[in-house]
């Protein structure tokens, strides 16, 4: 089976001495809807940033579709929607999409076509010529997702995409992401909404203290931890890790 993501011995120590990732190993099969759950500070965002070349990795290897994550081919195949909206303040919605396509090597024509498609898909037409700072929180979230998907990446990384989003938009987003996954796109999702992870993800990994502490299907995790809900699994796994760390 091919892997969208293959990580071996990944470590990240920040300049202030914080060890965010501690020899983490992870493989995500191509085409899977994969969830990454863990408490704040567990290392989820650091892991995502390492995959996307947004931090300097201390140690370890990351392969994206079999290629080093730092290679141009690997970068081209990843789409990232970050946790906090990070939109270019000088560009309108349409321009933000158009230029993103350009950064990822699309021709002007193809980038413009994709930008218009994404504007329609994410209902951004009414705000297409509005600059990012003037968009509402929900519209910014839509634009972030549209931007992540514009260059048709094989691996889409969604870092808490529904944080602070109303229920209606959240359900719309999930519907769309499911549709995308059904077409073969690998999805790596982090979320604090455990019930959503349970419904959407084929496999879930629990991360704590910079390590993967458990990994299975939602049902497999419940069996493994003797729990009836994913929330109980999460609490048991995380608390076990904390006890181990203290001991």
């Amino acid at each position: 089976m091919g892997y969208a993501l293959s990580i071996k011995g990944l470590a990240k120590r920040y300049d202030d001495g914080t060890l965010a990732l501690d020899g983490l190993d992870l493989e995500v099969p191509a085409g899977e809807f994969f969830g990454l759950l863990g408490p704040n500070g567990a290392g989820k965002t650091t892991l995502i940033n390492a995959i996307c070349n947004l931090i300097r990795v201390t140690e370890g290897e990351i392969l994206v579709f079999g290629r080093p994550a730092s290679s141009l081919e690997a970068r081209r195949s990843v789409g990232l929607a970050e946790q906090d909206p990070n939109l270019d303040r000088f560009l309108s919605v349409r321009e933000a999409l158009l230029y993103h396509g350009g950064y990822y090597g699309l021709t002007r024509r193809r980038s413009a076509e994709r930008a218009e498609e994404m504007i329609d898909v994410f209902d951004l037409r009414a705000k297409a010529d509005v600059r990012a700072p003037k968009l509402s929180g929900g519209m910014r979230r839509r634009l972030l997702l549209a931007r992540a998907l514009l260059h048709e990446p094989g691996l889409v990384i969604l870092d808490e995409p529904t944080a602070g989003v109303d229920i209606e938009l959240r359900r719309e987003l999930w519907r769309y992401i499911r549709r995308l996954h059904s077409r073969g796109t690998t999805i790596l999702l982090t979320t604090h909404y455990l019930e959503e992870a349970e419904v959407l993800c084929e496999e879930i990994a629990l991360i704590a203290g910079g390590e993967i502490v458990a990994r299975s299907t939602p049902e497999g995790l419940k069996r493994q931890f003797g729990a009836s809900t994913l929330e109980d699994v999460y609490l048991k796994a995380v608390h076990e890790r904390e006890r181990e760390a203290v001991a």
Binding site: R75, F90, E152, R183, T185
Partner: protein, 269 residues
């Protein structure tokens, strides 16, 4: 949300086109300059033009010739060099600082581009802005003062070195700056004073010792003289020395900015 999307898993097999990324990044930086044209273009052109009018045309009649030229003619090259240097520097430092501060630089850092392409793409905005300001000031000041362009090729070479040096310096400061004050500090406390004492308004030959000798330790003195040679065909020092010093400093600053992009230091935690 509508159902019309054609999202696929094809991304893993699509060939990256880093040159295209570079072109789009450069275009984005130029678009920023044009969108903010009142700040990026109009203000520096008007202020430099006021220098020429006030110092040159008003006071010029009371000052004897400098290096064989009327005063209003003599100050034109230095003022254009100063405006271009400040534009190249402040454009890049503010653009990169804002991109880091709002974190939309992540969209560039994650993109399939090589480090030197990111560096070059982010430097182009300052070069674009400085060139437009230089051309606009030249077009206004030359008819006003009658300043000649004696060595057009030398002028072009000096302008390239100038925008490279100060554009790269802007990139470096934009990467290191923790607050907006840091970027203005370098401009107001380093670039502006050094340009002023680098012979924009006078020939350093008229300075008493040791000020004349000390002026030769000012790197901006060589930049101003390289540009002045292009316009007037005269320089306070050997024109080759002016070009060599300017090129050496430009190379050092470009190497510094490239080091930051290659290693990710300061750009990536």
């Amino acid at each position: 949300m509508s159902r019309g999307d054609s999202g696929t898993a094809a991304g893993s097999s699509v060939r990256p086109e880093p040159w295209r990324g570079l072109m789009w990044l450069a275009a984005r930086e130029c678009l920023r300059v044009s969108k903010l044209w009142t700040q990026t273009m109009l203000a520096p052109v008007v202020s430099s033009l006021l220098f020429i009018l006030v110092f040159g045309l008003s006071l010029g009649t009371r000052i004897r010739e400098v290096s064989g030229f009327e005063y209003e003619v003599f100050i034109v090259p230095g003022l254009i060099a100063m405006a271009m240097a400040q534009a190249a520097y402040s454009n890049n430092s503010s653009s990169i600082f804002q991109a880091r501060s709002d974190r939309y630089i992540d969209d560039v850092l994650a993109a399939p581009m090589r480090p030197w392409q990111m560096n070059l793409g982010l430097t182009v905005g300052g070069a674009f802005r400085a060139t437009l300001i230089g051309v606009a000031l030249g077009a206004l000041a030359i008819p006003l003062t009658g300043a000649p362009v004696e060595r057009p090729l030398a002028l072009a070479a000096a302008a390239v070195l100038l925008v490279t040096l100060f554009g790269a310096l802007g990139v470096v400061v934009g990467i290191y700056a923790e607050t907006f004050d840091h970027h203005t500090f370098i401009n107001n406390i380093v670039i502006l004073p050094l340009t002023f004492v680098g012979g924009v308004f006078y020939s350093v030959e008229i300075l008493p010792s040791p000020w004349e000798q000390l002026s030769h330790a000012n790197p901006l003195f060589y930049v101003v003289n390289a540009v002045r040679y292009g316009f007037l065909g005269v320089s306070d020092v050997s024109v080759w020395l002016s070009f060599a010093v300017t090129a050496a400093i430009a190379a050092a600053v470009v190497a510094w900015s490239q080091y930051l992009f290659t290693t990710g230091r300061r750009l990536k935690p």
